[in-house]
Symmetry: C2
Subunit: 187 residues, 2 copies
Amino acid sequence: MKQENRKDEIIHTATKLFKKKGYSAVTMRDIAKSMGIKAASLYNHINSKQEILTNIIISLAEEFTDEMNNILKSDLNSIDKLKEIISLHVKITSENTNGMASLNNDWMHLEEKLDYYLSLRHKYEEDFREIINEGISKKEISNSNSEIMLFSMLSTLRSLYLWTPNQKDINELANSLSDVLINGVKI
Amino acid sequence: MKQENRKDEIIHTATKLFKKKGYSAVTMRDIAKSMGIKAASLYNHINSKQEILTNIIISLAEEFTDEMNNILKSDLNSIDKLKEIISLHVKITSENTNGMASLNNDWMHLEEKLDYYLSLRHKYEEDFREIINEGISKKEISNSNSEIMLFSMLSTLRSLYLWTPNQKDINELANSLSDVLINGVKI
DNA sequence: TTACGAAACTAACAACCGTTAGTTTAGATT
DNA sequence: AATCTAAACTAACGGTTGTTAGTTTCGTAA
């Protein structure tokens, strides 16, 4: 029986390095060195470099999928659903800032799980789109450029990992972000 | 005398590959194969893989810097300056969509030019911030969360390379984007 | 005390990396 | 026809890659 603890340490260390340089530029020797052991020792706990990446990305993607399902099923109005999505991104990003870098930048290096990842991603975007379009038809959201709204919000939320490390109060961040994304910057 | 044409072809080919897999995952043999030649032949035209990346990133970064300078010096009001910045990103991204991927994701692999790149990037963000803060003090921009406004707009604009390929009318895109970023999504 | 097992180690592998050296090809210039 | 040159080629280099095999270490259970 493997101790799950050590495996998690490896993944945690790898995640930090992947954020700095990207999956392809990080070697097994880099990961090992940063833990004070030799590269071969990593294989007592994991099966491959690829497995580390898959573990990082798929767990995050599934977390987003699950929570999006809950938001969709809720009876909130469209604007409040958007606020929930924003809070979801702030929460997950603050809990695993480094992992979000891999989710955003290294997903194309997934192998066996690439198609599965792409299906989760596609479904997530479809659900997000549906919330916006529902808001437009219910006159809760401005009737223009739903695709641009979707991509503007999604782009900002996906970039959160680049600057949440500096953030202190997570709820305050979610509220401020909701304010800007929903109301814009004009006075 | 080297023919600049062939060098540009190499950079153009490399840029496409860098967008798909990232700088580190693309090999000189990949670039050569995609041009129908051998890797060694690339060195008749370029000095190193690093030179290709530097060429892609620095030329884009300097273009942003120059145009930001013009916007800063103009006598537009704050909102119109923001609209000019949005147009600038749409224009550069539509002209070199693939290169923008490297600018966003591969800048950390710059070597000699890394510090120079970081200084341009820092200056650009400072100028952007100044425009927002000026707008707030002139009561043209909402008095709240200037940092979040900055990062929200910048995140969206930096992600443009992910979806402008599908876009047809560039001016229409800039206008719609301005609408969403400045006025938000609420009705 | 002995035996066990998790987790480290050393050594090595085949493949691939960026790059260099020297050579061949073929079209343009003299 | 002879010469030159840009741009391709083949071959190879020293180093690095992910990974495997077999061995050692050492705390815990029997």
